[in-house]
Symmetry: C2
Subunit: 327 residues, 2 copies
């Protein structure tokens, strides 16, 4: 066998029969030989790595249960495929753009996950310009040249509102997330639409940055407001848990005087007192599906968008009948 043939076989180039390729690989493997990744990368332009850039306040990243689960899901797929995840956590839009430009200039990754989609997200054009294939984690609000992996939040939020109205609640508030993020807007719109569908108006809708601190202060503001709600739907579990703390500190019984609904379906939500009614998404499966899609895109050049089962309401004991007028 010629050196050239072995090289073609090892690098998975055309011009070598599958049988020959497998024999070459088998012999190479028996000899304990493997091509160096930097050399393979120079010759094939493959890095066998995928990239994830998180732009978040570090304080919020540390308390957010979404990303560890999402990354764990990515890893279940990458590990089996011998790929690795290259991670950047950045604090600003400028640092985020720099991170993607470095990915491209240094040929760090074969593709990237695009999380925390925004309105008219300029990162879509940036990644296309840079030639980095991407998978959108969530549904973009405009046309995009990349496949998306969507887990729809709305059905779970809608079910939560119907559950509360069915329990007799008429004064329902929403503690939303960061309105710069499409998924926070999407949860908010689902809340507002469901309330309207039952002929009601929201008692209040408060935007936050998704942090426990802002979840706590929004709850305190709702308690002090002129029209006090009898139920609060939060845009994530950490804020709902902070809300539970504020309500209990104020002597407001949950669910007797106030019903509370979270969003995420975290492990934490199962261990609060009372256990939290929440909307369960599946960040781990989301990460795995996004990784499978991005691998397909980077190896074959195309991949179909994926729609995962939507988020679902999980009723626990933090929701109950609306308090009567004498309560």
């Amino acid at each position: 066998m010629s050196k050239g043939l072995v090289s073609l076989a090892i690098n998975d180039r055309p011009g070598v029969s599958e049988a020959t390729r497998l024999r070459v690989l088998e012999v190479a493997d028996r000899l304990g030989w493997r091509p160096s990744l930097p050399a393979r990368t120079l010759s094939t332009s493959r890095t066998y790595a995928l990239g994830l850039v998180l732009r978040r306040d570090l304080r919020i990243v540390a308390a957010d249960p979404f990303y560890p689960a999402f990354m764990a899901g990515i890893e279940t797929v990458l590990t089996d495929e011998g790929r690795v995840l290259v991670l950047s956590v950045v604090g600003s839009a400028e640092a985020e753009e720099r991170a993607y430009r470095t990915f491209a200039a240094d040929r760090r990754v074969d593709g990237a996950f695009l999380n925390d989609l925004r309105h008219d997200d300029h990162r879509v054009d940036l990644l296309r310009e840079l030639g980095i294939p991407a998978v959108l984690v969530g549904r973009p609000d405009g046309p995009a040249p990349f496949p998306s992996v969507v887990l729809d939040d709305a059905p779970g939020v809608t079910a939560a509102v119907h559950h509360l109205v069915d329990l007799g609640h008429r004064a329902i508030a929403h503690v939303g997330g960061d309105p710069a993020l499409l998924h926070a807007r999407h949860r908010r719109r689902a809340f507002e639409d469901a309330v309207a569908a039952r002929g009601l108006v929201p008692t209040a809708v408060v935007d936050t940055d998704f942090s426990m601190a802002q979840g706590a202060s929004a709850t305190a503001a709702l308690l002090a407001g002129r029209t006090r709600p009898t139920a609060i739907v939060y845009a994530n579990d950490p804020m709902a848990i902070a809300g539970l703390g504020v309500l209990q500190e104020a002597g407001t019984q949950v669910p007797d005087a106030m019903s509370v609904v979270g969003f995420d379906g975290t492990e934490m939500a199962r261990h609060t007192h009372p256990p939290l009614t929440t909307v369960r998404s599946d960040p781990q499966e989301w990460g795995a599906a996004a990784a499978r899609t991005l691998l397909a895109l980077t190896t074959s050049g195309s991949a179909a968008s994926v729609e995962l089962p939507p988020a679902q309401l999980v009723v626990a004991r933090s929701t109950g009948p609306a308090p009567g007028p004498t309560d």
Copy 2:
């Protein structure tokens, strides 16, 4: 200027004066030219990436506030230095070893963080064999060829026990972590030593896997035991929070009938009801210090071990005077 000279200058090799090197780099920069990372890696053996392998049950990774904060700390240093973090999350010791071997074979990283140290940790020898420089995150229990970055848990745990004894507690239990991990053993030993130093014996010491589920079941077992403690010191905040939930569900008032101490000093601990007395470590600064040390080691070939300020007791409202005999 010859091609060879430019190459030597760009790749920071000897044989080029500093003035020439700077001029070459300046011209290259003006031309918008930069050497490709794969080519630089082949020529300099530098990847400008650091590696972190987490071997944890995915369910526990998702609920553990330590790693997001630790990684965020690493990133604050790497981003400024134009480096990236390569992350692998694995479920078994075999997969962990494979991950390090792949790091070495593929020249993925210039160095690695060695977390979750174990007794006689075989990874120390593995990384030395593989030629991967490493920084130990925590104090090893034997001699090691790598520098360590230590944040001592013991003083905080000791202070927690003294705080409880000073409040009149005589029946104190410990819900520990995974005894395979040195830091869990270390917290447990600090607890036992402090209790003994006050002339007491622990009411109970329970090992767990650090999960909220096992924190909850350990708490339920302590409540049902023949000798019920009046205070419980947990090895992490998530277990303490799960314990709070179990106690409140059982109608056991905190702190009137039971004092509770966590460990981590998480954001979450500030928002529970009551806010959690806990032992604050600083995982973000720990990650940053580990990254600085590993960068120094990989660029200069040596780095000194670092001792960070130890973990500290933060008293909140989940601890109070021991209940009297009539309670």
